[in-house]
Subunit: 223 residues, 4 copies
DNA sequence: TATGAATGAGGTTTCATTCAT
DNA sequence: AATGAATGAAACCTCATTCAT
């Protein structure tokens, strides 16, 4: 997907490998120190390559940010379908998707924050591409919601609004990590969050399904 | 509140006036271009003062960021109590608080985003001070929620979780403005959001109260 | 004339002074080492200012080249009228102009060569401005020629061609200095050159005038 | 002739072929963009070889410049004798030589300018070698002049001076192309130039010879 | 108190050259 | 003989900060 970035190196496989190497270093450093406070030299050292090498695979520093953000966003988009494989029951799919999304965010809090902080440093065209990725990820959640509605497990909810509620809930774990992470872990966070949010959308059938299937992890004394 | 920032000027009133002048310029420019891409010269020109003058009231660039963020955060904390003045009924207070919070965010989307983007550029001690401000604002919302619970209008909800749900909902209007603002305005956003979120927390009494009081703006066919 | 170059300093007199200072250093170094081989640091050191200062008065390195070339070209355009002050007789004016032009070139061989070498490094708009200056200088020579023709001292010569012959003759002293300067000095160069070139254009009257007036320096055994 | 440049390849014929290939690319690019603005990569691409290959036949970038300049200078030196083949009459030989020299310059204006611009970028030893080449070319013209003098067609002119007048006249077509080429073509340039310059040197016999032989192209209403 | 010219460390980027294949 | 990925010194330029006025 990192097309459109021009490289001075021909071998496409090498380009892919090097770019991943650079993106890894970039995600780590940009996340930790921010885009502007990280120097190209920092990245070169962290990736254990020379400064010159970077400019064989990338045209400027902004390209590195783009590469880093793409890597983060893609990892989100890839994880959810992976988690849903083999899960059929709609409510379970929904809970699984949310849980996985939160976990991914939780594992790379810094990267999620990076996306929020630095997307604006990209030029418009690329900013839009990044937003497009986010929309695609959101759609994975929205689909789960729609399935639950169709299966009569959710009331006829405002899908768009509910999707964003879920998304923001997930991101909040990263954005407000300083607040939450000292009180609970991701699992508890998801449990408490789902309990709160599901209450507003479950039908009677949905509630029964939820209890019988115990689909969403620790659900001892549900609502 | 802008204590701890050392000034070379004695007259405390002048210091206050100048700092507001600088903070205004800083909020505007940092919001528009980001902290690192804004130069001291930019701010001097925008505030119509000399570069030298800035350093009479501020020790370094980070001080300006701190000033700017304080200004933004304070405006949030001031607006909610103002809106609640004269409103007594708990559910109405809750709705009013949420509505006002969203509106403030809506009016200065850029400033809200600024807080998310650049807080990390502050040194830890100040970052904590900013977070403290946010917690104080959140507490205003949390209080409204607790009142509703005590009045039997809300079920015995997870107050902390619900507070953050509200807060993130409000911030989302700013953070995802690119998505929402082309489909609806703040008012519709709040209505749709409240409808969704309230469904999960209202008691029977709460629901009746909501309908009778029509406290929360356009509420055609509520839950 | 160094307008259109934007400065970050307001005081126009200071701007003028600093720019002359920078141009002096630039002419010297660019002449000696060439434009590309001279670094900004070199110029800063030679002008005894900081690197930063340069960028207060100039936007980039090309501006320095422009400044340098303007300075060189202007000195040419200024010297000829100065030398002609008080000289009335047309043939004498012609000889004086040529002599002075060669001398100016001779005094700053390196600068003349600079104009030939580096004008192409300017962007088109400025390159044209430089060419315009040259045309203006040439016109000073052309006017002397026309006066001689009108006074019946020169035959009805191809003025444009003759002007360029004179100009190239003058520049040749600089461009081919490596060849000439080890055999003669400027004065001899001018004498020999004028003798050759005048032979083709003088009328009978012109020849007599030339001898009687001995206007053109050492003119022992004229044509 | 490109001796003294060390090559890592043994086969002398291959060396010659490759070096011509590189010199062609170098002349073209150095002429168009200048020496310093042309990268080795540019030349490799233009010559359709790899960067590494260049360094098999050349030690550094300056070698390429040397190669390029040699190629240009040699073409000058070769063309004149070629044009003079079969021409016997001294005045005709002179005119033919001048005409051909101007034409060669006219056909590769950029290359001529290259010689003026970039010779200084060579190290002294090589710069002298280039100058030597120029002197040799000049000698071809000087010989023609001397023949005319000996044949009583030219007065006892200052040969060295006149030679340089011719040379500079020829180069001027390239150096001042921006001025001349929009008013006339090379042929007209030579005609007008020769008419002017010959007037000063022709004897009575020379004039008659010129008219009778019409040796120098379009010579309608000569001196 | 206010100004703005001056400073220079440090950032990004380029590109001639090397060397393992 | 030919390739081209890798290197890193060195260039240009920015901008936070100081200080004499």
């Amino acid at each position: 997907m990192p097309d459109q970035i021009k490289s001075k190196v021909d071998d496409p496989e090498l380009v892919l490998r090097r770019r991943r190497q650079l993106a890894d270093a970039a995600v780590e450093l940009f996340s930790a120190r921010g885009y502007h406070s990280t120097t190209i030299r920092d990245i070169a050292e962290h990736a254990e390559v020379s400064i010159g090498l970077i400019y064989q695979y990338v045209q400027d520093k902004e390209d590195l940010l783009f590469l880093a953000l793409l890597q983060v966003l893609d990892s989100y988009k890839d994880q959810i379908p992976l988690a849903l494989e083999g899960v059929a029951e709609p409510l379970e799919r929904f809970c699984t998707a949310v849980r996985r999304y939160c976990r991914v965010n939780g594992e790379s809090v810094a990267a999620t924050v990076l996306a929020y902080r630095e997307t604006k440093s990209l030029r418009k065209e690329r900013r839009n591409l990044i937003k497009q990725k986010e929309v695609e990820t959101n759609e994975l959640i929205a689909a789960c919601i729609r399935d639950c509605v169709e299966a009569g497990l959710f009331v006829d909810v405002d899908v768009e609004m509910f999707t964003y509620q879920i998304v923001m809930f997930s991101h909040a774990w990263a954005l407000k990590a300083w607040r939450f992470s000292q009180e609970m872990d991701v699992e508890e966070y998801v449990d408490r969050g789902l309990r709160l949010m599901l209450r507003g959308v479950l039908t009677g059938r949905g509630e029964r399904q939820l209890k019988s299937a115990r689909c969403c992890g620790a659900w001892e004394a549900g609502a």
